[in-house]
Subunit: 198 residues, 2 copies
């Protein structure tokens, strides 16, 4: 067997993740059969499951990867920006390069959290990164005097995560993103330092 | 055949709705088989489908009935109170008399809206009542000078509905309601008239 470099392994892993993301988004977890995963990634099942133990592990790696990339956006631009990216996606579009490419995975995670207690346990360990990134950014903003200081950072973190949850669910129902821009302005403003009385 | 009074018909209809609510909540839409609906309501399938054309119509009537009762709470106490009722439900409890008895139906509506375009169309006609009640209450609050006046009532309505959506989804994932009290305080305060600068 030829020796493969780490770069090659990483590239192959990335190829599988990117291909399977589209597949999971389009067909859902159950509908993403091994045959479809082969087609979507352009690789054999042998190659796919050389890198991931099973479909569940592949999906978890994908969801974790997406959460990681969301956390990077949060660290630089905040969770409200993640939400603004989300409503900028054209309805029904498949947009792997779009900032909100992670919507499909996120929806599938939400659905499985509701119906699958085992998945809930496995995901719990992996879902802290986004919360931590949000809390860390809010703490920095707070230290810089940009945030309201009458509400604890933990409450503001939970508030922003709740709105994200609502937005994901709203879009999943096929409802319009159009009215959401001014709503996000309100959300953003409500975590900022108090306005002056009018 | 004996003549039945309207009161009798109404009572029977109520009996079917209340029994089937528990059944849909416990088993989900697909899991709520006709046999289980018979057990839950204490009535034969003949009696049930005398009042409702089919299971879909029964479920829609139930969801509409719940939305109507939520709208009544909204008219008197506002949508934030509906959310406060919701987080006061003990986790996993089945509470037909609790103010948030409608959570099960609401979750099932959310799930079916995501996966069933036909249901989406049938529900769209019936889902306006809660929005209208929320908007009407906000308009009254606005006229009474209790609301911030730099954001349109339609935006505030969409904002509160988005938070409700997030809360329903949050609880459906089995996540804790505990931290949500201070978050709802923040939500409530953010639609009110501007605070003075500190």
């Amino acid at each position: 067997m030829p020796r493969v470099t780490q770069d090659h392994l990483d590239a192959r892993r990335r190829q599988i993740l990117d291909g399977s993301r589209t597949c999971f988004t389009r067909h859902g977890y159950e509908g993403a059969t091994v045959r479809r995963l082969e087609e979507a990634t352009g690789l054999s099942r042998g190659a796919i499951f050389h890198h991931f133990r099973d479909k569940e592990s592949l999906f978890l790696a994908l969801a974790e990867d997406d959460a990681h990339r969301m956390a990077e956006v949060v660290a630089e631009q905040g969770l409200v920006q993640v939400m603004r990216d989300l409503i900028a996606v054209p309805a029904g579009a498949e947009v792997p390069d779009h900032p909100a490419y992670w919507l499909g995975t996120r929806l599938e995670v939400s659905r499985r959290l509701r119906t699958d207690p085992e998945f809930r346990a496995r995901w719990a360990e992996r879902s802290q990164e986004l919360t931590s990134a949000t809390r860390a950014r809010l703490a920095r903003q707070h230290a810089a005097g940009k945030l309201r200081d009458d509400v604890e950072v933990d409450v503001l973190t939970a508030y922003l995560e709740l709105v994200l949850e609502g937005l994901v669910s709203h879009l999943a129902k096929g409802l319009s993103a159009e009215a959401m821009g001014p709503v996000l302005d309100l959300v953003e403003e409500s975590v900022r330092r108090h306005r002056a009385a009018e």
